[in-house]
Subunit: 384 residues, 2 copies
């Protein structure tokens, strides 16, 4: 039974690129017997994961029936929950957004209140998009703290009181009736940007510069979460120019204590990072000077990581990325000066392309990759 | 034809764990048809990649024939070429060393002389081990500089005059008649230590502290080479305490310019890193103080990398590792103070376990992983 399911997954993995293929092509590509391929195609057709292609392929004799992936077969519920703001989406199986919603929600209200709100909001959004719960194949969720991805539980999240160890899938699963995957918000943003804007890049670092600073790492096209799921936490790397500053983590000299949106806002006597961005855009010389220096400090850290990790692309995202070229210029200045020439030869350092949507797109990617990976397609669940 | 070969690889990938399995078990594990499994088993038996298992498995009826991996089916030639010293080995398909040789060879003599010597030395060692060239399935080679792994060509190697862009496989291939894989020496050491001493660890950083400093990165049990094959070059990461020192790379403040064996030797007025280790072991207080500080400087860099990469294990290797606990103590002191608690909670920082053999074992692993991976088993080559 397990092999049956895995085999169907292998066919879907091939077909999901959108190209139509005949039975014979699928036999050749998988090495599976004709009877096995037929059996699995029937199951996939039955549940509408695939549909007959209009353009049957002719190879001399009578035209052979061809099959193609049905991106509308199921929908995905995606959520990007930040410290004070939530963004939700319903997407198809190519991450195309069918409906979306965005609202101020305080993560500090605790898991019960926030997740109850989430279930209600998902139901409303699903109805808006014209879909029903039995068309949903899964839910991807990003949270603003470290998450043990295998269990979906936050691990000592510093800005999420009440969430430590909370079993998010156990709370949501019974009320949505679909698989739930949870990850760190910066990880899902990295997934979203990689999927939508740089799918050809094997190794990538996505940096979120918001109130704090964090990063998401893609290697061989997949998220690198590390041994404890803590990978990417670059906000607490020590930078020499911050040696005198005490960070909220209890250490001194952390990158985010000097270059995060919160640190810059404090220096400019404004409320938050968004106000800093507003000043920069208004041409305030002191704000521009500070954001450029923040770019250099970030560049100091990234220069080391470029030597170590040798990424093909670095993407600067988060609210502070809206400050534009000033931040990016500081980063580039230091990375190109400090990193090894071989590692920077083809390195591309750029701003995010998806804007605020990176998180929900990434949460959708998280679930789609899971659902369509060869080992995990579960036809019995998918049949609703 | 390609699928035939890939299918045989899938069987080998399953059988290489050493457990015997029946035809029925292999059908179940691969999802392949009985006729396909039989055909591929015949090909593998014919070429002795597998052998009938003594302990045929009985499941009620008559005992079913079982098959097991033949670790002695082929041998691997492995070489770890350092700046001034070369180490060679003939291994079986479980990396067990069947014969080895070690000799002073200057990499600066250039590729023609060094590789000609290598061919002669391999032939001699192979004869010593009682094998012939048609039993060799491939050659793995480590070189002391950046290597473009796909082509086996060194890329701007700083201490290898004449080697830049040299086509190593093209020189060796025709004279050995087997596939040649080339990689950076620190990468193969990381592979060797991972394979032999920490095979269960998913994410690992191996640090070579010799004259210079470099690292090899394992993620999801595989080498991370990065976008240009330059990953792991941590010797040129900037450390605050080295800001005044000019490095051979042309930058200032590089880690290896202050903590490498060459830098320590210069401060102690001795010839090289090995002399430094000798002084440390003899109890020289100044040498001990210096090596401990070198550990702290290395720890400064590793603390950042732990936050970023979240490895399960850090292994300290290279000649300077022979200085023992003093170096390690300095590293641990800073990493456990500076890195995030979540990332260091289960982090193991230890000395190398394979000693000088890590390189040749890793070069052998490099080739075995290639030969036995599902997509690349090439029965036509393997048949000799």
């Amino acid at each position: 039974m397990t092999m049956e399911i895995a085999g169907a997954g292998a066919l879907l993995t091939i077909l999901r690129d959108g190209r139509a293929r005949t039975r014979a092509e699928l036999m050749e590509l998988t090495g599976l017997a004709r009877s096995t391929v037929s059996q699995r195609l029937d199951a996939l057709l039955d549940q509408q994961w695939i549909i007959p292609a209009d353009d049957a392929i002719s190879s001399g004799g009578r035209p052979a029936a061809a099959f193609t992936f049905n991106a509308g077969a199921r929908v995905v519920l995606a959520a990007d929950l930040g410290a004070t703001h939530a963004r939700l989406a319903v997407t198809d199986l190519t991450t195309q957004v069918l409906a979306e919603h965005s609202e101020d929600v305080a993560i500090a209200d605790g898991p019960e209140r926030v997740l109850d709100w989430l279930v209600t909001a998902f139901h409303r959004l699903l109805a808006e998009s014209g879909h029903t719960l039995d068309q949903v194949c899964g839910t991807g969720i990003g949270l603003p703290g470290p998450v043990e991805h295998e269990t979906g539980r936050p691990v000592n999240p510093p800005i999420m009181p009440g969430w430590d160890g909370f079993d998010v899938p156990a709370r949501l699963g019974p009320r949505l009736g679909v698989p739930i995957l949870v990850d760190n918000d910066v990880n899902i943003m990295a997934l979203g940007e990689h999927w939508a804007a740089s799918p050809e890049v094997e190794h990538l670092i996505f940096v979120k510069v918001g109130t704090g600073i964090g990063s998401g790492i893609i290697t061989e096209h997949r998220l690198h979460r590390g041994a404890q799921g803590a990978a990417g936490d670059i906000g607490h790397i020590c930078v020499p120019s911050a040696a005198h500053v005490v960070c909220r983590c209890g250490n001194t000299g952390c990158l985010e204590a000097i270059a995060g949106g919160g640190a810059l806002a404090a220096q400019l006597d404004v409320a938050n990072g968004r106000e800093v961005v507003r000043l920069v855009r208004a041409g305030d010389a002191r704000a521009i000077q500070l954001i450029r220096q923040a770019g250099r400090d970030l560049g100091d850290v990234l220069a080391s990581l470029v030597n170590f990790f040798n990424p093909g692309v670095i993407i600067i995202g988060g609210d502070m990325a809206d400050a534009g070229e000033h931040l990016l210029a500081g980063v580039r200045e230091v990375v190109y000066r400090r990193s090894l020439p071989l590692a920077t030869q083809h390195l591309n350092i750029r701003s995010r392309q998806l804007g605020d949507r990176a998180g929900v797109i990434g949460a959708s990617v998280l679930m789609i990759e899971h659902i369509l990976s060869p080992g995990t397609v579960d036809l019995s669940v998918a049949s609703g």
